[in-house]
């Protein structure tokens, strides 16, 4: 089966004045449908650069990137935007929801730029469905500032899902969340992955990476290790364990 994401000797070099910065120095990688991949690495390891490229926000300096069989390197800005709209969903560390805009409208956002245009009623229906998938159907008309961090991140996940993308890309999705809500968000990801949605997630927390199925570690612009997660965590169990621990110290 064709991989959804295929990097072939991918390199990305930034030019900073006279200085050339080699952010990624040659990565070959395949990610197939239904995978849940955690990309780890210290800052400067090249993981963000790789994610930007996988997210079609950037193009390789050399090498090839095929998304769902399409060579991204040859596309122009508008084609990239179109690809992001149809095939990718983004979840960011800082949630990146539009303030003063209801959860529902935030989730509808990608459909505003869909072509062919999605009718208003259909937008609403799909946005509500996506909110239901992340368990927030009852908060559709809440504004981001009326939602907790975990809820905001779930709205962001619903937004990422609404156009039925091939891949959901998450950049440090738990970076701004406490342990408990982090595990809840991982629960959402695992549930989505169980439904067949492919997820690629950047994280620097080993605990979080262990919720994935496959773990890629990067250093200095190369992939160091790429292996299945041996002792995979499950959100429900982790949550139960956490609750027990918290109860022991009267936190909960």
């Amino acid at each position: 089966m064709e991989p959804i994401i295929k990097l072939e000797n991918f390199r990305r070099t930034y030019r900073n004045g006279l200085l050339e910065v080699h952010a990624v120095r040659g990565v070959s990688l395949e990610i197939h449908a239904g995978e849940f991949v955690a990309v780890m690495g210290a800052s400067g390891s090249g993981k963000s650069t790789m994610m930007n490229t996988i997210g079609c926000l950037d193009r390789p300096t050399s090498g090839r990137y095929l998304l769902d069989g399409v060579d991204v390197g040859s596309l122009n800005r508008d084609d990239l935007a179109d690809l992001r709209n149809r095939k990718l969903g983004f979840v960011f560390q800082g949630f990146n929801l539009l303030s003063r805009t209801s959860a529902l409208e935030n989730v509808e956002l990608p459909m505003l730029y869909s072509r062919p245009a999605v009718p208003g009623r259909e937008q609403r229906r799909r946005a509500l469905e996506a909110l239901k998938m992340v368990g927030l159907a009852d908060r559709a008309d809440h504004y981001p500032n009326q939602l907790s961090g975990g809820q905001q991140q779930r709205v962001a996940i619903a937004r990422a899902l609404v156009n039925q993308p091939r891949v959901v890309l998450a950049d440090e999705p738990t970076g701004n969340l406490d342990t408990r809500t982090s595990i809840e968000v991982m629960g959402v990801f695992q549930a989505l992955n169980d439904q067949g949605i492919t997820i690629v997630m950047v994280t620097h927390e080993l605990d979080i990476a262990n919720f994935a199925k496959r773990k890629i570690v990067m250093r200095d612009g190369f992939v160091r290790t790429d292996e299945p997660v041996s002792q995979r965590l499950h959100a429900a169990e982790a949550l139960a364990k956490l609750e027990a621990e918290q109860k022991a110290v009267h936190l909960a």
Binding site: D78, N96, L109, P110, Y113
Partner: protein, 404 residues
């Protein structure tokens, strides 16, 4: 499209005070356009009314060449039109319904113990008809009065009021003009001020023969007033008048006319030239204000783009193309300027009547000027909104998402 509009409205509402202040320049500019154009149109309508009050299809022949050497002479020039010219014009010019010579004098006029200084026009019996004078009471003097140089006169409303009191019918009264007694036979209906602001009703009309013989001693006329049958007859009549007068005045083809023929249209154009200067001046101020307003919009849009860099990044990430972002900010700028324009138009509608009421300027708001103002404000939005919108559209999604 609707969603874009909604986003734009939300952005404007978010900073209501700032949006209003931004619009202020446009509001001032557009209301200045509306008021300025309405002043021009009002003044033109007033001039047209005044010119129309002079008569219908009127031609005036003046003594002397008014445009010789580019200098306007005319008034005060030595009269050189004669009784013979008058007879010839009357007999020979086709397509005219009346001719009247004009002599003028200013004289002290008295009735009872009242007296006033007034402009006296010596004219023919056709004159009242040619110049559209109506009568409040009494009637015109006759051709017989002209032939006999009878001491009869028609009196304007202002003059009558000065001599006999407001609203008193002067017909049948005797007035003394330079101590010669004249009988008032007609009371002229008022016309108001003329295009140059003079009161047309402070006047006495009398047979030109009487004026020449009893008052001025002139033997020549300063002007002829001629009424053509129709507007279409004016060019031919003008040519004929010129031909006849050149012949009678023995002007060889290489010499210039020693008379000038002015049609009503030319007079109205002349009067309107002043208004045009005013309109252009106000228009220039309005234009400057609109440019300043446009720069204000550009400035705020640039601020807005910077403030919302992250939002732009989010939109780009979820698939907005450059042109989607461009359109969004352009619509926002246009919305700002168009709402400003609408408020400016409203302000103009409010200000123009105030100007008429308190400063006495005639104003007339035309639909064209409103439409023009509205389009101009929309264009300003596009022009001054374009650069900020382009800046937003060209943001790199990665940088925009990372922007703090």
């Amino acid at each position: 499209m609707w969603a874009t509009l909604k986003t734009a409205l939300r952005a404007i509402r978010r900073n209501l005070l700032r949006s209003f202040l931004t619009m202020l320049g446009i509001i001032v500019g557009i209301s200045a356009v509306i008021v300025g154009v309405s002043m021009g149109a009002g003044a033109k309508a007033e001039v047209d009314r005044q010119i129309a009050s002079m008569g219908n299809n009127l031609l005036i022949v003046f003594s002397g060449n008014m445009s010789r050497g580019g200098v306007r002479g005319g008034f005060g020039m030595q009269p050189n039109l004669t009784e013979r010219d008058y007879e010839a014009l009357r007999r020979e010019v086709p397509g005219i319904v009346g001719v009247s010579p004009e002599v003028r004098a200013t004289a002290q006029v008295a009735a009872g113990n009242q007296n006033t200084s007034v402009g006296i026009w010596g004219v023919s019996a056709d004159f009242a008809e040619i110049r559209s004078w109506k009568f409040l009471s009494g009637e015109n003097f006759t051709d017989a009065d002209v032939r006999s140089a009878n001491k009869v006169c028609l009196i304007g409303k202002t003059t009558a009021a000065a001599l006999f009191g407001e609203g008193v019918d002067p017909v049948g009264q005797i007035i003394r003009i330079r101590n010669a007694p004249f009988t008032v036979v007609g009371w002229l209906a008022p016309k108001g001020a003329n295009a140059f602001g003079q009161d047309q009703d402070d006047v006495i009309l009398m047979p030109y023969t009487s004026a020449m013989k009893r008052l001025t001693g002139d033997t020549k006329f300063r002007a002829f007033s001629i009424a053509a049958e129709s507007a279409a007859a004016i060019p031919e009549a003008t040519n004929q008048i010129a031909a006849i007068l050149r012949q009678l005045h023995q002007i060889t083809p290489d010499k210039e006319d020693d008379f000038s023929i002015r049609s009503q249209q030319e007079m109205s154009d002349f009067a309107n030239a002043n208004n045009r200067v005013m309109t252009v001046l106000i228009g220039a101020f309005a234009g400057i204000s609109l440019v300043v307003g446009g720069i204000g919009i550009m400035n705020i849009m640039l601020v807005s783009v910077t403030e919302r860099t992250r939002e732009i990044g989010i939109r780009l990430a979820v698939g907005a193309r450059a042109r989607d972002v461009l359109r969004q900010f352009l619509i926002e700028a246009v919305l700002l300027s168009v709402v400003g324009g609408a408020l400016g138009i409203a302000a103009g509608y409010w200000l123009a009547p105030m100007l008429t009421k308190f400063a006495g300027f005639p104003t007339l708001i035309s639909n064209t000027s409103v439409l023009l103002a509205f389009s101009v404000s929309a264009v300003i939005g596009v022009v001054f909104g374009f650069f900020p919108a382009l800046k937003a559209a060209n943001l790199d999604p990665i940088d925009a998402l990372r922007y703090e």
